[in-house]
Symmetry: C2
Subunit: 259 residues, 2 copies
Amino acid sequence: MAAAVQDVIMLLGDSITQGGWEPGGFAQRLAHVYARKLDVINRGLSGYNTEWAIPVFEQCFAKQHEQQHVPTVRILTIWFGANDAAIKPSPQHVPLPDFISNLTHLVHMVTSSSSAHYSPKTSIILISPPPVNTYQRDADLQSRDPPKLLDRTFEVTRKYAEAVVEVGERMKIPVLDVWTALYDAAGRNERDLDKFLWDGLHLNAAGYEVMYEGLINTIKEKYPKLHYDELEPVFAPWAEIKWDDPTESLKARRTVREK
Amino acid sequence: MAAAVQDVIMLLGDSITQGGWEPGGFAQRLAHVYARKLDVINRGLSGYNTEWAIPVFEQCFAKQHEQQHVPTVRILTIWFGANDAAIKPSPQHVPLPDFISNLTHLVHMVTSSSSAHYSPKTSIILISPPPVNTYQRDADLQSRDPPKLLDRTFEVTRKYAEAVVEVGERMKIPVLDVWTALYDAAGRNERDLDKFLWDGLHLNAAGYEVMYEGLINTIKEKYPKLHYDELEPVFAPWAEIKWDDPTESLKARRTVREK
């Protein structure tokens, strides 16, 4: 019975999104700076690919006739590819053309006026998967009991990341290209990605810092009215409360100016 | 348009709750361990006392006829007193009898079957304010421009903390007594509270760690079915997805067993 008093940022993705709640993770950082402005709803699902994400997203994102009752999703991040790019025989593998069409479908669900989930108030940001450090990943998998074979390659994940950028360009949706941001930050050297990944696949706090800075810059550039500095807190700062007769000054306010 | 697919933990309080989104804060820690089970909705409002919290809570907590559309609040923490205990002439000051009746009112809003906000599925935890380190608080206020006079006393805040414990006992609502937990952890020495408070009033990461451990223990003891280890993720772990025909296995599940 949480009333829909505050709009939200929804984070859709895999384990790299789910891990955003770690200290220094991007969900934690967003929740901190957007406190009292937008709630952060983490729909990161460890191990998931775009194939499994579609039926999940259908359940997580309200249909048009339900939208009046529930919080408006102001920002939606869609961050997949790390599992889709797993190589066969991994059950997580999604062929590149299917990955592209799934990502396109996820975006259309929100942007197409004929979609049951159509939501013109939602601003989408696509995010490319991080580069894989196969040295680190291989060592991690070898250390397991029983040991596992390497299930990602540097080049395949790069192709999935490039596909995210292309989908964004084609659909005119802003893209946060985490693959390139992290690879550049590592001096374009695969082994040096260990500064940003803890197991060759998942971001550590330094990786999330790079990603978060890019995300805030993307918001600032592409959706400036949704930057946290541009939003009013839903409930007034306490110094603005009318202390002798507070009722009016304590009414929830619209934090986002409508398009 | 975030569909009500996942139930929530709502955190109602002042700046010490709002700051729970800091790295190591209790909101961040809860969001991390309850990921995919319960969302964390932070309704901490810096500077607020119980007087101002009542009209805010009326807007944040759905009325009975709205509850079918919105996420169920499974756990509600109510953490006030730090500002109510400010001494006159602070506009934040709430006299002790009023603090007690406000806190009682907030609980009744959820637990009383005659309340518009009645919600028998919500489990409440009351939290007492932390002890004030007046040495630290005074130094902090003196360092401001212009300098401010000390606005809290150790003994007054202690009385408000004791009142929270009494309200909980009287109403049979579990209490997390943060005042005592932190004072004990500091060897019952006011000056040594600087290990847990960064400005004499607000918790640092070490303070939140003590508080969080106490909170999880309270959940485990008083509401064991709501401990994160007892809840199923709403969406199945990926290894449990039926890869050849995933639809059924990707349906959202009830994470909490009903009372």
